[in-house]
C-alpha cells in the first residue's frame, strides 16, 4: 500500500461566475446560489405513518401530504410525490446517515445534496420572471409560503417553493439538477433582464 498524506478535495460551485456580487440598486430581481444538504425520503410500502411519526418525533416536522414544504428551524420537508419527500437542512451534521438512522427500515433515504443547486429569487418582479418559464399559478393568494411544486422551467426540471416574505417581498427558491444549473441560470438572466437583475452572494 502506498503511503501518502491526507487527500484534500475542494467543493466547486456549479456556476463559478455567480460567486461575485453586483450592484443592487434598481434591481427588481435578486438572485443567489445556495447549497443546502438534501436527501430524498421514500416511504416503503405501508410505512407512511411510521415515517410521519418518526420525523415528527425527531424534527417536529409534519409530513406534507401534497406538494408543500413544511419547515422547522433549519430543516424542511418538501413533498415530491405520493410517497417521496425531499429533506432539506441548511447546516448541521451529515444529513443522510442521520436520517437513515431516524427512519430505519421505514423509508429509503438517499443523499442528493450534490444533485441539486438551489437558486433563491426575490424582488418585486420575481413572479414576472418565473411566469416566463413556469406554468404554475404563483398568485400571492394561491401559491402561498409553504407551497412547492415539481415542474419545468423553460424545459428544465425544477422544484420550486415559496419561503416566507422578506420585507413584504415574495421569496422563491428553485432547486435544479446540478448539471442543468447553468442553463437555468441563463434563463433567469435573460428573463430578468427586462427588469434588472442583481446577483448577491446571499439574499
Amino acid at each position: 500500500m502506498v503511503e501518502r498524506g491526507p487527500l484534500v478535495l475542494r467543493p466547486a460551485s456549479a456556476i463559478p461566475e455567480l460567486c461575485g456580487s453586483v450592484e443592487l440598486s434598481r434591481a427588481w430581481v435578486l438572485a443567489c446560489e445556495r447549497h443546502p444538504q438534501l436527501a430524498t425520503v421514500i416511504a416503503y410500502k405501508g410505512r407512511r405513518a411510521d415515517v410521519a411519526a418518526r420525523l415528527k418525533d425527531r424534527y417536529a416536522l409534519s409530513l406534507p401530504d401534497g406538494p408543500r414544504r413544511a419547515t422547522r428551524g433549519a430543516s424542511a420537508l418538501i413533498g415530491l410525490g405520493p410517497r417521496s419527500w425531499l429533506f432539506q437542512r441548511e447546516t448541521g451534521p451529515a444529513l443522510e446517515p442521520e436520517l437513515s438512522e431516524v427512519l430505519g427500515d421505514a423509508a429509503a433515504v438517499t443523499n442528493q445534496s450534490d444533485g441539486y443547486v438551489v437558486f433563491r429569487l426575490t424582488g418585486p418582479r420575481v413572479r414576472d420572471v418565473l411566469a416566463k418559464g413556469i406554468s404554475i399559478d404563483l398568485h400571492d393568494r394561491v401559491f402561498v409560503p409553504g407551497c412547492s411544486v415539481g415542474t419545468t422551467c423553460a424545459h428544465i426540471g425544477v422544484i420550486l417553493w415559496r419561503l416566507e416574505d422578506a420585507n413584504d417581498v415574495s421569496v422563491f427558491e428553485l432547486a435544479v439538477f446540478r448539471s442543468l444549473a447553468r442553463s437555468l441560470w441563463h434563463f433567469i438572466e435573460e428573463s430578468a433582464a427586462e427588469f434588472g437583475l442583481a446577483v448577491t452572494p446571499a439574499c
Partner: protein, 88 residues
C-alpha cells in the same frame, strides 16, 4: 390540455408522457397460450372514440403514473387517479 394530477393538481400537458390505453394488463407469463396473450397485450388496441382510461406519466412533476379518463373525441377529462392506487 390540462391534466388533473391527483398529487400535483392541474398541470399543463407538456409535463406528461403518454402511454395509451390502461386496459391491457400484463398477462400471466406462465399461461399456456402466453405468446398469444402477450401479442394481444403488446400490440392490439381497442382505440375507442369516446371515453378512454389511459396511462400518463407525470414525468416533470411527481413522477407518478396516472390513469386518466379522457374522451378521445373532445379531449374532455373526467378525472385521474394514481395508477398505484387504482383498484383495477
Amino acid at each position: 390540455m390540462r391534466i388533473p394530477c391527483p398529487y400535483c393538481g392541474s398541470r399543463d400537458l407538456s409535463e406528461f408522457v403518454y402511454h395509451g390505453d390502461a386496459a391491457p394488463k400484463r398477462p400471466d407469463p406462465a399461461a399456456e397460450n402466453a405468446s398469444e396473450l402477450f401479442y394481444t397485450y403488446v400490440y392490439l388496441r381497442e382505440n375507442p372514440a369516446g371515453p378512454l382510461r389511459e396511462l400518463w406519466y407525470h414525468a416533470s412533476g411527481c413522477r407518478s403514473w396516472l390513469i386518466v379518463t379522457r374522451d378521445t373525441r373532445t379531449h374532455d377529462i373526467a378525472g385521474a387517479v394514481l395508477a398505484m392506487e387504482s383498484a383495477s
